[in-house]
Amino acid sequence: MTESSVAIDHATSHPALQHHFENMEQQREAGTIGMWVFLVTEIMFFGGMFLAYTLYRSYYPAAFAAASNHLDITLGAINTAVLIVSSFTMALAVYGTQVGRTRMQNICLFLTLVLGLTFLGIKAVEYRSKYEDRLIPGRLIPGREFGPQVAEANDTDPHKLHLRDGASVRQVEMFYWIYFAMTGMHALHMVIGAGLLTVILILSLRGRFSPEYHSPVEISGLYWHFVDIVWIFLFPLLYLLGRHVH
């Protein structure tokens, strides 16, 4: 008896309602809170690295400034802008789903994905130049250990490391390790985000979402914005601080 009545309950509701939820509202709330709780773990995850950064920057200020100045500020700034635009389009995609403007929703999701991939592309270009300057720390790349050329006093070769204030190559390596750990972890999150967006985009093109059922888009948006926020902090910490001593 009761079995069928439960079934009827669910039959009258939205097809996307999972069996163990009472209604769509509960399901949406669970999803949103779930994502927020997950973002808390992400914040703590990056927190450990931010702490290490803070500590070693105060230990080795000269080396961190020198190493930071070796990063490409133009590419870094462009990437920041790219991510901000992608966050904007993501917000619009959520808006589009909320109000039922499917075309806007699909286009914005697509743009977000493209911008995300652009970010990763630019990041790859940056990594490549670090590889060429032998700035990948330690034995991370087998056969190509950390070993940048150190510039002499009047040498302006941008591929060489311009050590000043007695900073040592060892300390620069520490900066690059933190740089690669943080940006690498961030890039990994971007890759996961891009994967997530691809799935959402496909579902969206199949017309799976509507103003009544849009929480997957919203939740993916939360994740995407979070990854953006991490970069908003990484950019000044890694690229900008110490720039003025040049």
């Binding site: 509202e25 709330e29 949103t32 809170i33 927020w36 709780v37 973002l39 808390v40 914040i43 703590m44 927190g47 450990g48 931010f50 702490l51 803070t54 500590l55 105060s58 500020i73 700034a77 920041t80 802008a81 901000i84 635009v85 966050s87 904007f88 993501m90 917000a91 619009l92 808006y95 909320q98 109000v99 948006g221 939360l222 914005h225 979070f226 953006d228 926020i229 908003i232 902090f233 950019f235 000044p236 910490l237 900008l240 601080l241 720039r243 003025h244 001593v245 040049h246």
Partner: protein, 97 residues
């Protein structure tokens, strides 16, 4: 709990503010400010940008109290991690060997 729909105009304003913030922070980085102002300026701008994203793009401004609590607790625990760890590093010199 009916959900709040943020108008496009708000998104656009926030987006422009974020872009302006980015330009300002890059521009400010090349000036040699006294003391540690460079760091403070960069981090303040970054925090403002992050707050805007959280409040508007992530809808926290319009969300249930629980979401506020979750966001606040994340910041609080980050604060614990930093404050107590640094309390060690910043007081090590106080007592000579």
């Amino acid at each position: 709990m009916s959900e709040h729909i943020v108008p496009v105009k708000v998104y656009l304003t926030i987006f422009l503010a974020l872009m302006v913030g980015t330009v300002v922070t890059v521009w400010a980085a090349f000036f040699d400010f006294p003391w540690r102002l460079n760091t403070i300026i960069a981090l303040t701008i970054a925090s403002v940008k992050a707050t805007l994203v959280v409040l508007y793009f992530m809808h926290v401004r319009y969300s249930a109290r629980l979401v506020w609590v979750i966001v606040a607790s994340a910041l609080f625990w980050m604060g614990i991690l930093f404050a107590l760890t640094l309390s060690d590093y910043f007081t090590r010199e106080w007592l000579p060997l």
